[in-house]
Amino acid sequence: MFGRIYAIFKGRNREFLRDRASFAWNMLLPIVLMFGLSFALGGDRDAYTVGVLQDDDVIVAAQHPFLDRRDIKFVATRDKEDALSKVARHQLDLLVEFGDTPRYWVNPDSAKGHFVELALLQAGSTAPPTIQKEQIAGDPIRYVDWVLPGILGMNMMFSCMFGVGYVVVRYRKNGFLKRLSATPLTSFEFIAAQVASRMVLIMAITVFVYTGTHLFLDTRMEGSFFTLFLVALVGAISMVSLGLVISARVTSEELAGGLLNLVNWPMMLLSGVWFSLEGAGDFVQNLAKLFPLTHVLNSARAVMLDGATLLDVAPSLVALTVLSATFIGIGARVFRWGQY
């Protein structure tokens, strides 16, 4: 069995590595995006964002004149620890709590925090009582630090799903799968070889791009490289498996492309590649949990930005493993060699 898996694995690797155009695209896309964003955005968000610590989701401007400011984005939050950590990382410029004892937290190293603080105090000059100040220290997280896992994850998603799903449909359409079906190779062995091949290739590309980006842009890494590698590995397997399920019976490249996009685009938009879903509703957040990419990005960011340990990301790894096993099981069961 392993001999047959290895034979197909080797053949697919050779095919991919010698297809210079595809190979270059897989390498270049994340690099160009990373460096482009790094220079274009300069590592900063462009809007002032203030967290409002309260139990309700709706912010009532009547609480304080400061909340009437149109040039500041206000975000309601219940999780004080999380909000404080964001102030420390400069992801929130200020955290404010109105109530019996009004307070605010600001990072003294944040220039934007300083301006927002002035705006708060000016707005409050006519509105007693006085507001209590607390300081939070911490280094800023640039957008590049935050978006790096998103771009690597997105590249992984496209490469895994299109690189496997599309190729399997092409093999089926041109009769190569039919030829394989006349050999002792089983559908499970074929699928295992495809998963292994794409996993090795995408991991090599991801490690290469991450290393280059980390060295050149000095991106933040609070946790362990091993844990991050494990997150990427399990994530790659789950996304390749998802691509295989989609392509298990499809015989047209056009339909395969449509189905892959049908999954890819919501996954890219709802998994937090480009922006955080924190302000989104519960339905969207729960829907996002069904996507492997969400677990990959949340875990990768936790490791890279918060120093999460293997134990911390274990629930996401388990979720990804369950998703992979489900996808592979369904894929092997419904897989068709031919076009009949």
Binding site: G3, R4, Y6, A7, I8, K10, G11, R12, R14, E15, R18, D19, Y171, N174, G175, F176, K178, R179, L180, S181, A182, T183, P184, L185, W337, G338, Y340
Partner: protein, 294 residues
């Protein structure tokens, strides 16, 4: 000789079309068995059912007396009518990859020599000519030292020289004792290569036997041919079987002299008359409707 392959009552029903209609045959070991028929006769479907690639609606297939299964997959070599190979792989890598899928393995060097691929081993699959590609596909079909080989229209689209080279390869396989199932619509190919043929039409076998025996049984004598444009008057008084096909009149006769005497008043230019042995193409056209269907 033991029966290497037996099909019993194979049927394949597609929506609105019965591609294979209760087909049965048995094939002794060590022969080249030709499955002939016009396009759409059900040859490829029949072969793909036997190979296990297409499921039958009903019927059974036996390999050495046992239902086809893992043993068949290990011991059968298959060359499909249309097969794409992986892009960017060389001939050597393609053969090695398929060879790795089997427990029974042919000797690589012998296989390369057998299929005349030595000069092509490092060439990309995509850069092979039609004949070279067919030789590679044959090599892929032989990677497991098969006891039973399926060749589905292997010379379609090849030039005459490449076809004859391919015939040599198949004849070598026969002399080495392999059993071969050859699907073709080239009658000359079947006549050269096959020990036994079955002619299919509309999903059924219409006749089966050795080419010589079938021809002897059907045609008692020779065929006299001449262009229909040379005919003057009716040929009603000719005593023998007369066909007209694509502008040529064919008269089947066991007494050529007598027939020529009868024909001479009706044929303007005797220089256009040809006398030849009946062949499989005649038989094929007789049995499947006297015209080649698209």
């Amino acid at each position: 000789m033991p029966t290497v392959l037996e099909a019993r009552n194979l049927t394949k029903q597609y929506p609105g079309v019965r591609a294979v209609d209760g087909l049965s045959f048995a094939m002794p070991e060590g022969i080249c068995f030709g499955l002939l028929g016009p396009n759409g006769a059900g040859k490829t479907t029949t072969v793909e059912i036997i190979e296990g690639v297409t499921p039958a609606t009903s019927g059974e297939v036996f390999y050495f007396g046992e239902p086809v299964g893992p043993k068949f997959q290990q011991e059968a070599g298959i060359q499909f009518q249309n097969t794409a190979l992986q892009d960017f792989l060389t001939v050597r890598e393609t053969i090695e990859m398929f060879r790795s899928l089997y427990e029974r393995k042919a000797d690589f060097d012998k296989l390369v020599e057998q299929c005349s691929l030595h000069d092509l081993l490092d060439r990309d699959n995509r850069k092979l000519s039609g004949g070279q590609r067919q030789r590679l596909l044959l090599a892929v079909a032989l990677v497991n030292r098969p006891r039973l080989i399926f060749l589905d229209e292997p010379t379609t689209g090849l030039d005459p020289q490449a076809r004859r080279n391919f015939w040599d390869l198949v004849q070598n396989l026969r002399t080495q004792g392999a059993s071969i199932v050859l699907t073709t619509h080239y009658m000359d190919e079947a006549q050269v290569l096959c020990d036994e043929i079955a002619i299919m039409d509309a999903g059924k076998i219409v006749t089966q036997g050795s080419p010589d025996a079938l021809l002897r049984e059907r045609y008692k004598g020779l065929i006299i041919e001449f262009p229909v444009t040379d005919v003057t008057g009716a040929l009603d008084d000719i005593e023998h079987t007369v066909y007209e096909n694509l502008g040529i009149v064919e008269v089947i006769t066991s007494d050529v002299s007598a027939s020529l005497q009868q024909l001479s008043p009706h044929v303007q230019n005797l220089n256009h008359i040809k006398i030849r042995q009946p062949n499989l193409e005649d038989l094929f056209l007789d049995l499947t409707g006297h015209t080649l269907r698209a």
